[in-house]
């Protein structure tokens, strides 16, 4: 494709504006986290006049941030790993077997994507409370309950994407493994999973991110001991004071793991989408 000259300018201006729009809040997040409290409460300044790292120190004691951090890490890791394992099995079944109910299953799973979360929030809350008293497993206000909830959130997208990905892997590879004496599950583990690694990593990132960032269920389904970052960060706005510098510092710190992970692995997400979902 020969690029005309004007395209260069359109590119610079277009990408420049998009970049500005994208980066401004991030810039403010970073610079405000190193300002003292009085500088974030008064008039806004682009360049920090006084630089202090006190917000990064104080944020741990204003709210029990470390505790929320651990909760979020446990919930998101377990939920995403289990969700991906479950999605791999389901996607393999949909991709490789023609069984009665296959279409119904795919449609049901995908259609849960369109449910407004608010529709099943309260019923789920009631189920967890009652299940807890019935079988003695505390699901409400526990990390287990949150893990179970979150792992279903990413399931539809994960299954959908992995089906596309598995479909792009030649069935001949499975057959070769079966000739070597593997059953269908052996073929899945020995052939399909290794060939689909980029897709699986992509799905894993997606699942982790969606669990790490969820707010609605976290705000209803947790108590002080199981609270995650999504709700915990609201603790910086008290009746008397809003610690904006600490909010920005905390936002920055809780974002680093997911953003770093995402950026490191984003090429897998693009590869996964290219091979699977958008085909």
């Amino acid at each position: 494709m020969r690029d005309p000259k004007w395209l260069k300018w359109v590119r610079i201006i277009g990408l420049g504006l998009l970049g500005l729009f994208t980066v401004t809040p991030i810039y403010v997040m970073i610079t405000s986290s190193i300002k003292p409290l009085k500088d974030v409460q008064g008039d806004f300044h682009w360049i920090p006049t006084t630089i202090t790292f006190s917000a990064f120190r104080d944020m741990w004691s204003t709210v029990p941030l470390a505790h929320y951090f651990v909760n979020s890490a446990i919930v998101s890791s377990i939920a995403s790993v289990v969700s991906v394992v479950v999605a791999i099995f389901a996607a393999y079944a949909v991709s490789r077997f023609r069984f009665a109910g296959r279409r119904a299953f795919s449609i049901t799973v995908l259609s849960t994507q369109m449910f407004p979360g608010i529709l099943f929030l309260l019923p789920l809350f009631l189920i967890y409370v009652n299940l807890g008293t019935a079988i003695g497993v505390d699901l409400y206000a526990s990390r287990t309950g949150l893990i179970i909830t979150y792992l279903t959130f990413s399931l539809p997208f994960s299954i959908w994407m992995l089906v596309g990905y598995f479909d792009s892997i030649p069935v001949a590879l499975d057959e070769a493994a079966k000739v070597d004496g593997s059953g269908p599950v052996g073929a899945l583990i020995r052939v399909v999973i290794p060939a689909a690694t980029p897709g699986i990593i992509a799905v894993l990132i997606y699942a982790f991110m969606s669990a790490w960032g969820e707010v609605l269920f976290a705000s209803v389904m947790t108590d002080e001991s199981s609270r995650t970052l999504a709700v915990g960060l609201q603790g910086y706005a008290t009746q008397n004071n809003v610690y904006w510098n600490q909010i920005m510092a905390a936002s920055l710190v809780v974002s680093i793991p997911v953003v770093a992970g995402f950026l490191l692995l984003q090429r897998y997400l693009v590869q996964g989408l290219t091979a699977g979902a958008v085909k």
């Binding site: 479950v86 529709l119 004496g181």
Partner: protein
């Protein structure tokens, strides 16, 4: 492996592990075990594989949804929240209340519904446009391309509360960047406007949602562009097509299947989005930006009227089902015509 084997103890043996049933056979498995058993296992295996996903979907989505529909037919107020099976039947009265547009509850719901539609249409259209612009302009090789691509994806990677809370700081009346730029530096307004209450809040929620969602459109469209065969461009270049012509005749038509899914997903996510308005405005959104998910949340949890809240959710679901069905029918027909 472990998950599927333990989730159904009886059938666990049939999961096809190497070394499963009694004679751990290699190639001659069909000879050693009865044929019927093999066939049963073949038939059962896909069901066993989808079982964990099915159980989880049932537990977290489908059963609660059915219960939610049931709840919309009872008078579930805070009196009955501990013992909700004792709540009296309400018949259709929750629905009557929700769609009685002459009464305050119905009128507020209708208002919220239209606000949400307008918000969703604008946000999805702009997100798609930004996504296409970004993805198309990123085509080809130039310096800093990788860095820029990573940068564009950051808002999508940021946890919603971290990104949106930063926006709420930017939009503060006294100490925010937006008013600093618009009023102090550009002198566009005489007095500092409010952005998080009043009519401007509608603009704010669109800008923040756009900031959050366009990188997703960008990501998907970029992947879609990679799937367009190179020779299409070469062939059209030989025919003398310029850049604009290629964009119109090759790039955009080839992206149509991607767009079909992308626009639907963006629509559903934006329409149902609770996190963005909740973090930006808190538990009660301003009138002008009273998005439906926040509205229902407030009708349920703030006024403790879960029956009406459930009825509203059910109506919302019916609406979304209708939109999705119509959308899929229209777009699929167009696709098969093309």
């Amino acid at each position: 492996m472990v998950v599927s084997a333990t989730s159904r103890p009886g059938g666990g043996r049939g999961s096809g592990d190497p070394g499963g049933p009694p004679p751990p056979a290699g190639g001659g498995r069909g000879r050693v075990t009865p044929r019927l058993w093999v066939r049963l296992r073949r038939l059962g295996l896909p069901y066993l594989l989808i079982l964990p996903a099915l159980v989880l979907e049932l537990l977290v989505h489908l059963i609660p949804m059915v219960i939610g529909i049931g709840m919309s037919f009872i008078k579930l107020t805070q009196l009955y929240i501990r013992n909700w099976s004792a709540a009296p039947s309400a018949g259709w009265s929750n629905y009557h209340l929700a769609v009685d547009f002459n009464a305050p509850v119905g009128r507020a719901l209708l208002h919220s519904f239209f606000v949400t539609i307008l918000f969703t249409v604008i946000t999805v259209a702009l997100s798609w446009f930004f996504g296409v612009a970004g993805a198309v302009l990123m085509q080809g090789e130039f310096r800093g391309r990788g860095v820029l691509r990573a940068l564009f994806l950051v808002p999508y990677a940021l946890p919603v509360y971290a990104g949106v809370i930063t926006w709420s700081f930017l939009l503060q009346r006294e100490s925010g960047l937006v008013n600093h730029v618009l009023v102090d530096q550009l002198h566009l307004f005489g007095d500092k406007p409010f952005w998080l209450i009043g009519s401007n809040s509608f603009i704010s929620i669109i800008v923040v949602s756009l900031w959050r969602w366009w990188p997703f459109a960008f990501l998907v469209l970029m992947a879609g562009l990679q799937n367009i065969p190179r020779d299409l461009y070469e062939a059209s270049a030989i025919d003398g097509a310029g850049w604009m012509r290629q964009l119109r005749s090759v790039t955009l038509p080839m992206l149509r299947p991607v767009n079909q899914v992308l626009v639907l997903v963006l629509f559903l996510w934006t329409f149902n989005d609770f996190n963005t308005p909740y973090v930006l405005f808190g538990k009660t959104a301003p009138q002008e930006a009273d998005l439906i998910s926040i509205h229902i949340y407030q009708s349920s949890f703030v006024t403790w009227n879960f029956g009406t809240g459930s009825a509203m959710s059910v109506l919302l679901l019916l609406f979304l089902l209708l939109v999705t069905a119509v959308y899929l029918v229209i777009t699929s027909r167009r696709r098969s015509d093309a």
